[in-house]
């Protein structure tokens, strides 16, 4: 029964493809199967996007002792629908000085790769659109295109704020991509594979009550936290939302976008967050595996989406808590703290691999990472609040 429930979507797809093959030639089987997977993925994540916009506004409201949206539908549940209708019916304003073609293409260049990145995330047992041999590399490769789209949006608008926002965004994305990839590399070292499916399989299984998740090791915990911070910076989430700081550069690179194009940027940003959170789950939180042995009867995709929702909730919580960083703080945090710590984490992961199992390797790796954390953190804090700012003109 549990098995059946777990594989219900996989079975449904097979049945559907079989039924469709009665009507179309057999050579189309692969195409049909891929199209069905893609459609399901698009619908599921678009629905999750709608839900998340609502949850975010509700959660932020509660953190600030407000209600949040509660007018459209019961408990405000239809608010995303209202937002969507609003975005679709709004006038699409393009500045006269803008570079029309680049301005038009930029949102597409953001949305398409971001959805492509979802293709390698295993959302359940046997539920992945493509199991690529170099899946992780694929994820980061298509993620690279978003930087270009941000630049295109910022440059083509012919607005100094949008260009500033784009430059900030690119500088930030490039800086945080280094610790992001380095902390992912630790997992690749352990799993011995770049395939996301294989990485999840490595983490399946229990020793006693504890699952074999990577986050439950010293290097995994450090890697997970580093990955989460870098992911927040990659997805332009608070406290790293300088590129779109409303109060300083009035929404940054999408200042000149309105209507449906703005909605596309918004969608792209959230799907990017889901993708990178999904990758964090795949790499460190055991993907679709159950956290405890006796709840394994719960379908695997439920676990994946539960983990995804809790990570999103964490991001919302952080957004409701932390103020935005300053640009120099952002950069010194990336290069003086994140990068050395992720390199040391790489070392710790290597040691973990080659030290004999037991308490010694736990103690050794934990001590190494804790010492690095305290030392780097102290040096960062001592330079007066994450590095002192030097003013060029306003001395």
């Amino acid at each position: 029964m549990a098995e059946k429930l777990d594989q219900i979507f996989v079975q449904a797809k097979h049945e559907l493809v079989r039924w469709l093959l009665c009507h179309v030639p057999g050579a189309w089987a692969e195409v049909l199967s891929a199209l069905l997977s893609i459609a399901t993925l698009l619908v599921a994540f678009a629905a999750l996007f709608a839900l998340t916009t609502l949850l975010e506004r509700k959660g932020l409201g509660r953190i600030q002792n407000r209600y949040g949206p509660n007018r459209v539908g019961p408990f405000g549940l239809l608010q995303p629908v209202a937002d969507g209708i609003k975005a679709l019916t709004k006038e699409d304003v393009v500045p006269r000085a803008a570079d029309q073609v680049v301005h038009f293409i930029a949102p597409l260049v953001l949305v398409v790769p971001v959805f492509l990145a979802l293709a390698v995330l295993p959302v359940g047992r046997n539920m992945v659109v493509v199991d690529l041999d170099a899946g992780l590399l694929f994820f980061f490769a298509v993620g690279a295109a978003t930087e270009l789209s941000v630049f295109m949006a910022g440059w083509s608008s012919r607005n100094k704020y949008s260009l500033l926002g784009a430059m900030r965004a690119i500088a930030q994305m490039i800086s945080y991509e280094v610790p992001l990839i380095l902390s992912a590399v630790t997992v690749v070292m352990m799993a011995g594979s770049l395939s996301t499916v294989r990485i999840v399989e490595v983490q399946a299984g229990f020793s006693g009550w504890l699952p074999h998740w990577h986050v439950l090791t010293p290097w995994g915990l450090a890697g997970f936290l580093l990955f989460l911070i870098a992911a927040a910076a990659e997805a332009n989430r608070c406290p790293f939302d300088l590129p779109e700081g409303e109060s300083e550069i009035i929404a940054g690179y999408y200042i000149e976008y309105s209507g449906f194009k703005f909605a596309l940027f918004f969608l792209g940003e959230y799907i990017g967050l889901f993708a990178v959170s999904g990758l964090a789950i795949t790499l460190f939180l055991g993907g679709w595996t159950a956290p405890l042995p006796f709840v394994q009867w719960v379908p695997s995709y439920v676990w994946f989406f539960l983990k995804l929702l809790s990570l999103i909730a964490f991001f919302i919580w952080v957004r409701g808590t932390l103020p935005r960083l300053r640009m120099d703080q952002l950069m010194s945090f990336a290069w003086k703290f994140m990068l050395p710590l992720s390199l040391i984490n790489l070392l710790a992961a290597g040691l973990w691999r080659f030290l004999p199992e037991g308490l010694t390797r736990w103690a050794f790796c934990s001590l190494l990472l804790a010492a690095a954390y305290i030392g780097l953190g102290r040096s960062l804090v001592q330079r007066r609040n994450l590095g002192r700012r030097t003013y060029r003109f306003a001395e």
Binding site: R62, I63, N65, R66, Y67, G320, Y373, G377
Partner: protein
């Protein structure tokens, strides 16, 4: 150590989040169309005309003196005086406005009309839900929409209305006393009637 502040901050916002579900006092937002706060005594939006008695056409306090029309800074009041006097609600003959219009889209709620009115005939309303799709028709209020009973005035501004009523009653009593005194004095001598009034007005 690095990160302590972040954890403290997260705890604080977490407490806010959970607290908002268990302590209703935290949520200060008024859910406006369903629940509304009572308007304060001194609240004001736009003017209305007060009438006494039951029939608004007879009971209007306004005598069409047109002071408010002249004083109104944005000139949103338009009055046409009736040529003949008509009996008011107690049967006394009075001038009455034939037309009394206020353009709410022009009015700036300055309350000068209320201050200059010698008859306490125009007062400020607290009604604020005036949005309409017909800007020229629905925001130009005529006499019929402007006239509201004295009881309504008592309801929205109780203290002020009581004061006004007391003053009006006192003036009425004084006028009554004066007419009686006049009636009494006319038989004796009409001349000293002005004398006791002079210090009172000064």
């Amino acid at each position: 150590m690095l990160g302590e502040g972040i954890i403290k901050g997260l705890a604080e916002t977490g407490r806010n989040f959970l607290g908002s579900y268990f302590e209703p006092d935290r949520l200060v937002t008024v859910q406006y169309p369903e629940e509304r706060l009572p308007a304060p005594e001194t609240a004001r939006t736009f003017p209305f005309l007060v009438y006494d008695g039951d029939d608004w056409q007879k009971g209007l306090r306004c005598v069409a003196c047109q002071i408010c029309e002249k004083e109104c800074p944005p000139q949103c009041i338009y009055i046409v005086k009736d040529i003949t006097k008509k009996p008011d609600y107690i049967g006394k003959l009075q001038f009455q406005p034939k037309v009394f219009d206020i353009d709410l889209s022009v009015c700036m709620s300055c309350q000068i009309c209320v201050e200059v009115c010698p008859f306490d005939a125009i007062k400020m309303d607290v009604e604020f839900e005036l949005s309409t799709t017909d800007r020229f028709g629905r925001l130009l209020l005529h006499k019929a929409e402007l006239a509201k009973p004295n009881e309504y005035y008592h309801k929205i501004h109780p203290a002020e209305a009581a004061e006004v009523d007391a003053r009006l009653a006192a003036e009425k009593a004084k006028a009554l006393a004066k007419t009686q005194a006049d009636a009494a004095g006319k038989s004796v001598s009409p001349k000293p009637a002005l004398k006791p009034l002079a210090p009172a007005s000064g």
